[in-house]
């Protein structure tokens, strides 16, 4: 097992072999967002003209758009001109040994059971592993290649599969979708690209963990996943280890396209830096995620476990265009200290007999604020469309908040839309009951929380689920007095 971890470790830490990173290591663009910056980025990445033009349209859209004002939190002032939109990844490690790393962070690693070498990598300590990972990586790539699966960086896809990128980029989340999507279109750094050919069932979970150095996740990531007719893919984003990042604003875009009879399962575990106890310094995670079931019988399923970031603001959505297509959204969002989450989903039923299922579990502790915001939209042609929404909130302590904003718009009277909602508190009675069976309060809360989130955690791939379960317990440690 140790070997496996070292292998993963080594791959995760290898200098990025493809795209732009290696040759322009020292380049940093001046702060500020304007046409010059965009041209600079595009040129550095040796992008074709059409992509540059698309980026520039994004920039124009960004200039026209206003910051939204409907969210259930106070949007902090963001100076878009102070951000540097292009920086080569740091090649210098921050620390020489683990002794220099924040002990609190190390304690968390310990609890998560992360191997030592991996701990170093995640904390940004220089790692020297004399280990040849090339063969492993090759085996992995070879296997996918044999099946015709493309799994590479967005930048690489632009160079090698421009026809696919051109056809699908912006087709689900247009550059003008919202201000953050426009910003991403203009300045996106890199991201992942996946294409699963017709009739292929991807034999492994695809994870960015294997592809990019975790330290350089990027501020404006762009992910595009295309599942061709009759194919299947499960994609994992993020990891359970705490992620420290210098960039405060993250505005990623994820687009999923499922053609006829195809299925995409997209799982996220987000554990970015939430800021200190006062909420200072945490990440703003403003992401636009949307999928389209383009063909009949297609299925898209989003599962997310959100425990990090100072503000999480996102609504992974599904456009159910194909008849009999299915959209699912399973979410656990935890807020503590002064964290804020305003998250949910949108299900747009366009095709006939389309189905959607929404299971949202909010957990608020400390002074955390948790909002579920969802839209279920049934179009005039969506005969017999069905939706089921269940939206539960759990409160720990008496200074946190849970809010629910469900919107339903139906233009078809054959549709069935169900909405169930509950709000509960972790009771002292529950904790005492578990105490009386020999279980201490920390473990009792962990058990109760995991029980509460069970339905969502069950959707995650096995190993991820186990990690996510641990993560939830650790996140809420010390929340119950």
């Amino acid at each position: 097992m140790a070997n496996d971890n070292e292998i993963i470790d080594n791959i995760a830490n290898k200098e990025y072999e493809f795209g732009f990173v290696t040759d322009i290591e020292m380049d940093v663009a001046p702060a500020g967002l304007n046409e010059d910056t965009i041209r600079y980025i595009s040129e550095k990445k040796r992008e074709p003209e059409w992509l540059l033009e698309w980026r520039l349209k994004g920039l124009q859209a960004f200039g026209r758009q206003k910051l939204p004002d409907w969210q259930n939190f106070e949007l902090p002032a963001i100076d878009f001109q102070k951000i540097s939109y292009y920086a080569a990844p740091k090649s210098k490690k921050k620390y020489d040994s683990l002794d220099q790393v924040d002990p609190e962070l190390l304690a968390t690693f310990e609890k998560l059971g992360i191997p030592l070498s991996e701990q170093k990598a995640l904390a940004g300590v220089a790692v020297d592993i004399v280990f040849d990972s090339v063969s492993v990586k090759t085996t992995y790539k070879e296997k996918l290649k044999e099946l015709g699966i493309i799994f590479c960086s967005f930048g690489e896809a632009v160079q090698e599969h421009p026809e696919l990128v051109k056809k699908y980029v912006g087709s689900v989340v247009p550059y003008s979708d919202n201000i953050f999507a426009a910003l991403n279109a203009a300045a996106f750094s890199d991201g992942s690209f996946v294409y699963i050919p017709k009739g292929v069932r991807c034999p492994m979970e695809l994870s960015t963990y294997f592809r990019i150095n975790t330290e350089n996740t990027g501020q404006f990531e762009r992910t595009l996943i295309i599942a061709d007719e009759g194919s299947y893919v499960s994609y994992l984003e993020g990891c359970t280890a705490p992620m420290r990042d210098e960039n405060q604003l993250h505005a990623a875009v994820v687009e999923l396209i499922a053609l006829e009879n195809a299925e995409i399962k997209y799982s996220t575990v987000q554990n970015w830096y939430p800021g200190d106890k006062e909420g200072k310094g945490g990440i703003y995670n403003f992401v636009t995620k949307r999928g389209i079931c383009k063909g009949a019988n297609a299925k898209i399923s989003w599962t997310q476990v959100e425990t990090g970031s100072a503000i999480t603001w996102k609504y992974p959505s599904v456009i159910l265009q194909g008849d009999h297509s299915t959209g699912e959204f399973y979410s656990v969002a935890v807020t503590r200290n002064k964290q804020i989450a305003d998250t949910g989903t949108k299900m747009h039923h366009i095709g006939r007999n389309t189905r959607s299922r929404i299971i949202s579990k909010g957990i608020s502790a400390g002074q955390g604020q948790n909002s579920y915001r969802g839209l279920v939209q049934i179009g005039p042609k969506a005969d017999e469309a069905r939706n089921f929404t269940q939206c539960d909130s759990l409160l720990i302590g008496d200074r946190c908040g849970a809010h629910t904003f469900p919107y339903i718009e139906s233009k078809n009277n054959t549709a069935t839309v169900e909405h169930e909602a509950t709000t509960s508190k972790i009771g002292e009675d529950q904790i005492f009951y578990l105490n009386q069976r020999g279980i201490d309060s920390e473990k009792a809360v962990a058990l109760i929380i995991n029980g509460y989130a069970r339905e969502v955690l069950n959707q995650l791939p096995m190993e991820f689920a186990v990690e996510a379960q641990k993560l939830l317990s650790i996140t809420l440690e010390g929340s119950v007095g």
């Binding site: 529950q430 105490n435 020999g438 309060s441 058990l447 509460y452 339905e455």
Partner: protein, 256 residues
Amino acid sequence: MLIIKNLHAEVEGKQILKGIDLTVNAGEVHAIMGPNGSGKSSLAAVLAGRENYEVTEGKVIFEGKDLLGMAPEVRAREGVFLAFQYPIEIPGVSNINFLKTALAEIRAYKNLSPLDAKEFLQLSREKQKLVEFDAKLVNRSLNEGFSGGEKKRNEIFQLAMLEPSLAILDETDSGLDIDALRIVSKGVNQLRSEKNAFIIITHYQRLLEYIVPDFVHVLYDGRIVKSGTKELALELEEKGYDWLKEEAREKEVSTT
């Protein structure tokens, strides 16, 4: 095993227990009876370590150790088990998983490694049989959607699994029909041994027909006003509590 000396306790400033003395030895079954509000359930809660009860005087020694100084989970690990009058529901946590965690915690406290999956399953099957616990309920969420009787039977199943040295049954018979009562009693009788002890809190003599106690105590107004053998329970059934209340009052008058 358990020595309670001059135990006084209060809730929100109101005195509930006013000097309890009780000694329980291994192998004994003690029944505690008494009218509503006499402090029976409060005694159980104080022994288990419920937070809102404040002990103002007296001490409790359990197997030579100061019980009152221990956190509730430590008392449980030491071997004190409370079968709740109203068992709590915990959605999404499977009964068996919960028991596995509990047993592992108790074993870890005794420096024993957790049972492996196979051993645990075997133990669980054995105990299910012993207390006639429905296998279907084992994998369901802890007490969620259980009927009143099923919840009480689950308490006895947990008791069987965790094998405490002292089990306190807080009105386990309330809300049980005659069949469930018989099954619960049978389970308890199966678990009785020379090594463990039971404190059975009940309103009615009915339960004591099935679980025959060695001693019967009557609690009234926060004190044990009478102790005896199982015949006392029958006497109470016949005469009610009023004569004891009367006696207790007279006693109080004469002492003050």
